[in-house]
Structure formats: C-alpha cells, structure tokens
Amino acid sequence: MENAKKNMKFSTHSVSNENREGLKAWLNPFGYGWERVSYWLQRLTGVFLLIYFVGHVIETSSIIGGPDVWNSMLQLTQTPAGHLFLILVIGTSTFHSANGIRLIFTHLGKGLGEPGRPDYPYSPSSLNYRQKSGIWVALILAAFAMLFGVQVLFGKG
C-alpha cells in the first residue's frame, strides 16, 4: 500500500514535468482540423460567457439601488456598442450550447462510427461527417441567433 502511494506520487510528478507546453499548445491553430477549431471555440466561448455572467450578476444588482441607479446603469449598456456586445453574447451562447450538446452525445459514444482498420490515409473514423456536421450546425445556429439579435436590438420596437 505504501509503495503504491509512493509510485502514484512519482507518476503524478512525472506527468507535471512532461506536460509543460500549457497555453502555447492550447492556442496552436496549425496542423489540426475542424474538431480542433470546435475544441478551441468551446473553451473561448465558455470563458467569455463566464466573464459576461459575472458582469451580468454585478450589473443587475443595481436594481436594489432604485429607479435612478437602474436607469443610469441602463444608459451605460443600452448603447450601439452595448447592443453589439449583447449580439456577441447571443452568438457565443448559441454556439456553446449547440456544440455542448454534440459533445455530450460524443462522450456517450453516439456519432463516433465503428472502429476500423488503420489503413492509408489513416483518417480516424471518430472524426467523421457526423462530428463535422454537428460543428457546422452549431456555427450556423449561432449565425441565425445573432441575426435574430440584430433584429430585436436594432429593429423597430
């Protein structure tokens, strides 16, 4: 038992020394397909939406200050730049949700295809048209959601 604990500690330490590329590897866009773009966008939209969420919770707390405080907060956010920011939030949240649903299915083993013999040109069966079309659907839905956002925020009414 003691030896097992020591080995576990040693192996954890080794992993930490081997894996030092960190953010540089995470941001490297070269040599990868659409799955990498999706991986990257899922994380970037997630971090962006978390920042928006924290800002939104702080911003809406002005409601307890009364009508004057609420209206002065609205004056800051209800501007063309504020509306463009909201449209970005609509697009990123739609992509994050749609791509997130694809990832849940993928994690459950759905849409990965059958494992096959590794023949030339060695394209993995898991990175198939189902996965790619899921990414494209997420991007198209995000574009439509942003158009709807433009209509609501910049349209009449």
């Binding site: 954890t12 330490h13 992993v15 930490s16 894996n19 960190g22 953010l23 995470w26 994380r43 997630g46 971090v47 939406l49 978390l50 969420f53 924290v54 919770v57 702080i58 809406t60 707390s61 409601i63 307890i64 009364g66 009508p67 609420w70 209206n71 609205l74 209800q78 949240s93 949700s97 997130g100 649903i101 849940i104 994690h107 609501v152 925020l153 009414g157």
Partner: protein, 108 residues
Amino acid sequence: MKIHYVTGVCALFVVAIHIIMRLIMPFSASLTYNNVIGNYHNIFYALLLEIILVLIAVHGFNGLRIILLELRQNRTWEKYVSYGTIIASIAIIAFGTRTIIFANGLEL
C-alpha cells in the same frame, strides 16, 4: 463531467425562459425599472433566477476548472484551482442571491 453536463442541459431550459421573459414585449420596455422589479416580486420568477444563478455559476466555474486543469497537471495546482473555483462560485451565488432577496422585497 456529469455535473457539467447536467448543469449545462438544465441551464439551457431555464435560461430560455429567462430570455423569453425579455422578448414577450418590446425589448426596451422589458428593461424598464417597473417591469424588472415586477419580475423580481414574482416569487416563481425569483426562484427561477436563483436556479439559473446556481446552475450557471457551477457550470461556468467548473468549466474554468476543467480548462485550467488541462493546461497543467500537478497536485498543488489541482488543489488551488479546485478550491479557487469553488470559492468563486460560492461568492457569485451569494452576491446574486443577495440581489434576488432584496429586489424581491423579502426582509431578512
């Protein structure tokens, strides 16, 4: 990842209701002080906001934890990242809950 998937899917539904509440009337009218405070005074809507707050805080900070643990792996880093994100989630939930309670008009 179970907690991440469950909070993500649940958040999708409750956030949809939250957005619909802003779209059942002209957007600018839905943001007037009287309309928003009226929303907060509705106990069911206040409860919905609390559920959204908890779900998104847990989902968001757990997602941040996953990203940070992908970047580097060792025991100390994992410990600080996990505790840091848990504390941040609790802080934002506490702050948002304070807004919901005061805006709802409940006296503690």
